[in-house]
């Protein structure tokens, strides 16, 4: 190995704490389906660009390498909770290495429409052990800010089914054994929201009331972002950046 792990961690820390360089920021939008996070993410991105930020968006389950593999297996309803979790973990890791960290290294602002907490909430709601799932995502990359859009299971269910029937895995039909997707969704999303609420406490998310008006939420997000963007770079991220530098060998 050309560099020791300690040297790579030092390089990561120096890069992200260099005051002469505008450092990249990672902002995650989390919440159940129908919580309004995608609407808010789009408004936030438009505002950031108008403020002069160089913005990159990354969405859950979207890596060009792994997404087709997951999609074909989802269509066939062929995934166990472990396979579901591991494949989404692989998709996330590939995006971290090829989209998120390169953008952060270059000083960009990355908005993640769902982050690893989505994997944690859904996988634990499917009955997997939190400790096992959390370790799959190591080395952990902590966002600078996590906005959690809180809505009740009823609101989530109403908003999702107003537009379409929830799909098989979204509705948790692989674990509820309920044939009706709307009924299954209602049961499953209750479990997902309980997990999200625990994670919000443990990981100190910024909770946004997703039942408020769109305008009120957007104004709140702008204000919280302006307060939170000055936070120092988290040294918890040294391992994740060093791991990437070791693989990538660049810079």
């Amino acid at each position: 190995m050309p560099f020791s792990a300690a040297a790579l961690r030092r390089k990561a820390r120096q890069h992200f704490t260099d005051p002469s360089r505008s450092r990249g920021l990672l902002v995650a939008f989390e919440g159940p389906d129908g919580s309004g996070k995608t609407t808010q993410r789009k408004l936030f991105k438009t505002w950031l660009k108008s403020e002069g930020y160089d913005v990159v968006t990354t969405k859950w389950n979207s890596s060009e390498l792994i997404k087709p593999i997951i999609s074909s297996r989802k269509s066939a309803h062929a995934l166990s909770p472990e396979e579901f979790s591991l494949l989404h973990g692989a998709d996330f890791r590939h995006r971290v290495e090829h989209e998120i960290l390169p953008a952060l290294w270059d000083g960009k602002l990355v908005i993640a429409d769902r982050f690893l907490f989505t994997g944690l909430a859904r996988d634990v709601a499917r009955g997997l052990d939190l400790d096992w799932v959390l370790k799959l995502y190591q080395p952990l990359l902590w966002p600078d800010l996590v906005f959690y859009f809180a809505v009740s299971p009823v609101t989530s269910g109403k908003r999702v089914s107003a537009m379409r029937a929830p799909n098989f895995y979204e509705a948790g039909q692989d674990v509820t054994d309920v044939n009706d997707p709307v009924e299954s969704y209602q049961r499953f999303i209750g479990r997902v929201i309980r997990e999200y609420e625990s994670l919000a406490l443990i990981f100190n998310f910024i909770t946004v009331d997703g039942e408020q008006s769109i305008g009120d939420q957007h104004r709140q997000i702008r204000r919280l972002f302006l307060e939170g963007r000055q936070r120092p770079w988290s040294e918890w991220n040294e391992d994740a950046v060093a791991d990437w530098l070791a693989v990538n060998g660049r810079r």
Partner: protein, 190 residues
């Protein structure tokens, strides 16, 4: 060693036999010998889920997967094999030869520099085998087979583009598997 495991399987309640190694062709041959015949059970092979087959035709512009990504996919494939091949056959009282199984993934992860704690946690969902066979490389097999998970990883993984990098990875895997075999043998003796 392989025949000895087969004899032991016939006499005892050994049901899940793991065959691991760097060279896929040698692992496949050892698996056939360990099973003895199709009437006794079956062999569970790598990529039964087709994940890696799909990955092989994926867009190259998407970027080469890292060792960590490949190992997550190896574990996903193993979860598939456990669900559809290994556990159902064991439940019917048949013998299953899993070739490769956990040690190949562990050796790959450790050789690629991944932390032991991460690798061990990854495979926590899989049952320990009743018997383990490690297939060592022959002198003419030093470069390793192009087939199987290890061959696939050497061809597709980020950081494995040169012959030297591949050789280093294979040598480190072989060293891990030797240590693993020694530890497993010591456990049986004790």
């Amino acid at each position: 060693m392989t025949r000895a495991v087969r004899t032991r399987a016939a006499k005892t309640r050994v049901r899940l036999i793991a065959v691991d190694g760097v060279d896929a062709a040698a692992v496949a041959a050892a698996a056939r010998t360990a099973l003895g015949g199709p009437s006794r059970g079956g062999i569970s092979r790598w990529d039964a889920s087709g994940v890696f087959q799909d990955l092989a035709v994926a867009d190259r512009d998407a970027g080469a997967p890292s060792a960590r990504t490949l190992l997550l996919l190896y574990a996903a494939d193993l979860a598939f094999r456990l669900r559809w091949q290994i556990r159902p056959a064991l439940a019917e009282g048949r013998i299953v030869v899993a070739a490769p199984y956990l040690a190949t993934g562990m050796a790959f992860g450790r050789a690629a520099g991944l932390p032991s704690s991460w690798v061990m946690n990854l495979f926590r969902f899989a049952p320990r085998p009743d018997a383990r066979i490690v297939v060592h490389r022959s002198r003419d097999g030093r470069r390793g087979s192009k087939d199987g998970f290890v061959g696939f990883a050497c061809e597709h993984m980020a950081g494995c583009e040169t012959d030297r990098a591949r050789r280093t990875l294979l040598d480190a895997m072989a060293a891990f598997l030797r240590r693993y075999e020694r530890a497993a043998t010591a456990r049986v003796r004790n």
